[in-house]
């Protein structure tokens, strides 16, 4: 068992309740897709797991470590085993790709060495391997700003991979990408999940992508888990529960030449 959430609530300083008593268990090696409207608490749910957003109450256990109320050192140790991929990539665009990926090795490198930029050779090797895994090693010494959007997100994935994580969190990883690159990135994530056995949680907006790549689906609405089960069981009624409305073309990515007719729900554009 990798993740266990019990009655987790998050209230932001403004009084917004992002999560309201979420109970959740995710086993090792699972590929979980989380869907919901924006503001439903998807991003908060992921950030509670690595403590970037502290839970107001409840318990979050990751790999046997309690995250809620953990000390800074404990939190760093937990984070070092959790890779995170962001919607906006969150790269440092003014430096090289390899320097971005090396950020994933921060927790394993003595502070003085990383501060001075003197990364040890083994760490560089790990970063290079991570770049090889996402297929852009030839861009290692290119400035991140000179890459295309899809390549930038692959750098983001490589950075997460360089942590050698046992858990991968992806927060809307393809929201800023075009359909073709979206599929490549999702494919990368799926392959990483299968080949390395890294438990993966992905926030998605597009239902057809969720159906294509996910096995387990969690539906969030107003900070509550509305649905949690096999992706094949999702039908119109469940979808309405999650989104509060019928499915529309906007919720589908459907690329030309590779039609993915939804089995549940009828598109009405």
């Amino acid at each position: 068992m990798v993740i266990q959430l019990e009655k987790v609530s998050v209230t932001y300083p403004g009084g917004v309740e992002a999560l309201r008593g979420v109970d959740l268990t995710v086993d090792k090696g699972e590929f979980v897709v989380i869907v919901g409207l924006s503001g439903a608490g998807k991003s908060t749910l992921l950030r509670v797991l690595n403590g970037l957003v502290p839970a107001t109450s409840g318990s979050v256990v990751v790999d046997g470590t309690e995250v809620v109320g953990a000390s800074a050192a404990t939190l760093r140790r937990v984070r070092s085993r959790i890779g995170m991929i962001f919607q906006t990539f969150n790269l440092v665009y003014r430096t090289t790709v390899i320097n971005n990926v090396l950020m994933g090795r921060l927790s394993e490198t003595p502070a003085w060495r990383s501060t001075l930029g003197l990364w040890p050779a083994p760490e560089r090797e790990i970063a290079m391997q991570a770049l090889e895994r996402v297929g852009i090693v030839e861009k290692a010494y290119v400035r991140a700003s000179d890459l295309s959007g899809g390549q930038q997100q692959r750098v983001g994935i490589a950075r997460a991979l360089a942590q050698e994580p046992s858990l991968m969190l992806a927060d809307e990883p393809v929201a800023a990408l075009d359909p073709v690159t979206s599929r490549q990135v999702m494919g990368d994530l799926q392959r990483i999940n299968r080949e390395l056995g890294i438990t993966t949680l992905v926030n998605l907006h597009f239902l057809d992508l969720a159906r294509e790549y996910g096995r387990r689906l969690i539906g969030l609405r107003d900070g509550l888990v509305i649905f949690d089960g096999d992706i094949g069981d999702v039908d119109d009624a469940i979808f309405r529960d999650i989104y509060g409305r019928d499915i529309t073309a906007e919720d589908l990515l459907a690329v030309g030449g590779e039609p993915n007719p939804p089995t549940a729900g009828s598109p009405d554009a």
Binding site: M128, R133, V134, V137, E138, A140, D188, R191, E195
Partner: protein, 295 residues
Amino acid sequence: MTAPTTTDYAAPRPLPPGKVRTRRWVIALVIVVATVWSVSGLQVTLDRLLGAPGDAWAILRQMTPPAFSEVYERGALGKILESVYIAWIGTIIGAALSLPLAFLAAHNVAPHWVRVPIRQLFNAIRAVPELILAVIFIPITGLGAWAGTMAIGIHSIGTLGKWAAESIESIDDGPIEAVEACGGRWASEMRWAVLPQVMPNIASYWLFRFEINVRASAVLGMIGAGGVGSELVLHLSFRNFPAACAVLLMTITVVLTIDTVSAAVRRRIIRGATGTGDEASRSTEALVDLTGLRR
């Protein structure tokens, strides 16, 4: 699965770019050599280096407690106010003289043959520090506040003129064309098309220059051009450290107060000019503007 199987991907790893690395070392070496050469010219002995913090600490201890009542009776407050007056009048002189010149120095509203000499005049003025100007003025006007005021006024023309000309250059040219189309003269173009666009910026530059001038006028007193500087020099040369400390603290208080008030007024002027917006980014922008750093 249509996704490429990139695990068998066997692109060769690129070599680290050697050029960048060499350039970095060269730059680092230049800085180190320049620093070492400079230190060698400053007659720094190890003895002095190690003694300096102790000496500074000794003075600091003698400075407490500050002798506020003593310097107050000697009229230090009046001297500080004199510094503020010098800065204020100097800024006004600088503003009044620089504004018309700025219009003649902006490339979008002035012909080349006028613009170039005026730009050079601004640069020449900026190159001479206030203190040097005061050194030149003192034999002419005599010791006292007026020498300092003139020095600050003249020096301010350089920076104020440059900033104002730059903000004139960044305006929207449409209104100029509109006034032209109405048959307006050059002067009416400046007054009705250019001035309304640049006045908020220029006014905030004046205030910013006033903040700088308050510090400058405090310094001018040190060579007898009026203001609080003479008090500090006097107390320090008689090694009356509590009094010097009091003067220093009073100066800091006045400078900080003026900075805070002036910055608040500047923010209002600029915000009123460009509507609502992101406060933080604007202040950086203004700072970049004011320091002449364009990124």
